[in-house]
Amino acid sequence: MLGSARLRPCKAQPKASPQSASLRSLTLAALALPGLVALPAYAADEDSVDFQYSHYQEGKRDVYGLIYNVDTQLNSVAKLPNHLKPIEVDSLHGSAKITLTDRAKLQVNYTQDTWSGATPVSTAPITIGGNRPQYKDVNPNSINHILTGASPLVGDLQGLYFDQNLNPLQLAGYDPDTGQAVVIPASKKNNDKLVHTMGTASPETRKQIDFKYSYEWDEAGVDAGAGLSVEKDYKSRFLNLAGHLDFNQKLTTLNFGFNYANSDTSAKLDPDSLQFYSTDNYDNSYYDFVEIDADGNDVWKILPKKPLVSAGEVETTYDLKTLQKTSAKLLGNRQDWSAQLGVTQILNKDALVEFNMGYTRSAGYLGNPYKLVTLISINPSTAELSSNEVLPIYGSAMTLLEIRPDERNQFNWNLGYKQYINTFNAALHLDYRYSHDDWGIKAHTIQADWTQPLGASWTVTPHLRYYSQSSADFYLPYIKTVQVYDADTSEAVASPLNRAMPKYYSSDQRLSGFGTLSGGLIVNKQFNKGVSLETGLEYYTHKGSLKLGGGGEADFADYDYWTANIALKVDLDKIASLGHSDVAYSALDSRHDHSEHSHHASHAPAGVMFDHVLSNAGDFMVGYRYVRNKQAGGMLHGNNSVNDNTVRLAGCGGKECAVTPDDMTMNMHMLDLMYAPTDWLTLMVMPQWVDMEMNMTPLTVAQTTGHNHGGAVHSHQTGGLGDTGVYGIFKLIDQPTSHLNLSLGVTAPTGDVDVMLRKTNTVPKGTLIHYGMQHGSGTWDLNPSLTYTEESNKFSWGAQVTGTKRLEKRNKSNYALGDIFQSSIWGGYQWANWLTSTVRGVYTSQGSIHGAYPPLISESTGLPLGTQHVGPVDQPKNYGGQFLDVGLGLNLGTIAGSQLSAEWLQPVKTDFNGYQLKRKGSLAVNWNIAF
């Protein structure tokens, strides 16, 4: 906060000649010093727009299981083939800071993360069989199995044998004569090795938007902010207030802050494993026997009950015929309050120190709804214990939802020290943080950053971080309870062996004792025109053995990850100031019409690309495009509405459809970067990010005939980096009022086409998600387009033909999207300098998908399992069609030198290939700034 103030260029800067850029920046820095000029020391950053993309990739974890050895007739520990994709997260971040008045600023941030992959669900001794080896039979009668993978099991586990000291033993088999368990002695290693059972998740997307309003006085300032974070299973709203006061000629600054968050969990528990673990502690209902009806069937009813836990509850639906759970949802609410107080002190002309303390109180459901705990209940009878000491003791296994305390009080202490190193013109930042809470977690963090400016506006920052935490009091990799019963009366007896069930328990490795070591590099390049690029790379390793003072969790919980990111920052103030000086210095040369030319470009509707080129060699443009597309409201076959029953019988190419889509939403975020190497050519690079959500309803005879969507709606989400376009736009005609542009480009297949849905009981390997929800085309595509624009007085019009030709026959998932042809014609009227409205007609034709996903192969038989999925959206024939749309748009003139436009495309005519969801229209928003 303090530092950012110093970056702020002084508004009343003297005009410096272009040659003395370094001198000018030094002067700027000096002028912005706290206390030197009457400048608010804590003013927010310059007006700017930032974009950042980052990727998180976890390393693959080792999965261990027991393999039966035919020769020794014993199980042995082995590493199993792991087909599970580790966790991956794609994050997109955009923010804008704008000046409202001299002292007031507004900042808006938008963040979206999509994650998917495998994560630990529970932990247990290896002998319990949490990872069952999968084999492929070469010959079903032979014993030469080929190990192909591991199937994770969270329930239905075999029990476990223990010795007299309750060390786990490995079961070798049963004595054929006595029927007694034969075990491998505890002295053999690996009996007590712990393993994770991993669960996989289909992609899920979180979106967060937050605002911050800042107001500055000469020696004080306040920030007030609010935000919302939404994901399928978690919604969080938050408020914050922060402020600062400067003292002592701004050598000392006092900071304070308050935050409040209110968050709801609404987590759908995996229906496949519901039968295998207990949610008893959280259940808010149960079923009870009522009577035997006239036909002799049992009648059951569902009754409410109070959950045993104090926070969180599980809402379950049952099939009262089979008494099976059909679905369950964990509901919970938490509130977090935090307060911070800190002081920043300038020590000398090269060093400053900051000290902050914080307190956070959390209350409510603080658990992780997807983490389970293995419970082993040991019931040794007194008789067994006394009479035969060599008999192994049996413990039965079950799996439970974790229970955490419903309150947490956490304290943080931070000490930061910044030292300027004159010799290298570098800055050393050292930070230490100590944190402790009433869960028993004590953590130390130490971090060092070295920021080294190099020549030509390059800066590199290597950083190193070490973190260590002790485990929470209630963390247990798994629970062993012992209750000794009297053999005759079957009643519990007091015994020194007794171990009660703990009140709170969690096997989440985040609550275990461990240490982490991470390091990385940030590289920043500042370009002259107010644009800077930044990229960062970090590697992180989590190990039980890295815990400070030892005693961390064993190595089964170790993992690592790396993150990479790239960011673009646009300094609007600097662009504005450069723009003005250009005009001032070269009023007579051709640059004068630069702004008018850009202005001219604003006449095309927001949904049109390639109409806009840069005027002069050396010009840049940075833009952002957003497109939202929605389909909903029933199915069409060609251009005719069809009911669910027709879809069920005819929508899936000869097979019966099991689901039909209810709605699908797609969002595209695109960066529009342009540079003109010569006057007649503009180069354009367009990376894009996509996210989609589709809701589906099961189709059964009963439901479709009754037209009643009674089944459980399920939804699929996905998102991440899409395809990247690279284009060259040539000016064929460049007259003052008429322009003809030819654009040639390719899109590179940077978007994934192998996004999978999670594994289920029916599809143990997971399936590829619907074609329309993959992130890209997977093929190199050619994109030519021809655009003509003309204007006369307040009227303007234009026309465009554009197409997409797939340059490859198949992508790596064995299909190719259809080619696209599109033509548009539009007209605009300029109502005022800053406002133009547009009308557009668009015709689009797209072919259906060629090829298809490879068929699923059964792991055990090696034979095809039939086609993937079960809905019309999984049929290649049900893609593409011919469409007519009418667009209505508004273009807003220059806001701080930039342009903003929006267009709504309303479908007028639709003729789909096959069976598809009705089109609801699409919204395009376009912002750009040229400089």
Partner: protein, 74 residues
């Protein structure tokens, strides 16, 4: 109380540095302090991103649990 003792040590260290190391720095002597890399957080986007990841992987880094960031429950 162990916590309080540790906290006290940290606090005294902070105060110690503040009081002993303090010299008067005139406004025109603050050129080095004003450099971008001497900012309290020279790379705010990077640190936001990193802290978000840390807080979803570590128990004690969620000092921001009251300021958004989502569940991180995987």
């Amino acid at each position: 109380m162990k916590y309080n003792k540790q906290a006290l040590i940290v606090l005294l260290m902070a105060l110690g540095i503040n009081l002993s190391g303090c010299t008067h720095v005139e406004p025109w002597q603050r050129g080095n302090l004003a450099k971008p890399h001497m900012a309290l957080d020279p790379n705010p986007m990077q640190s936001t991103l990193r802290n978000h990841t840390y807080s979803s992987r570590e128990a004690a880094s969620s000092g921001s649990s009251a300021s958004g960031g989502g569940c991180g429950c995987y």
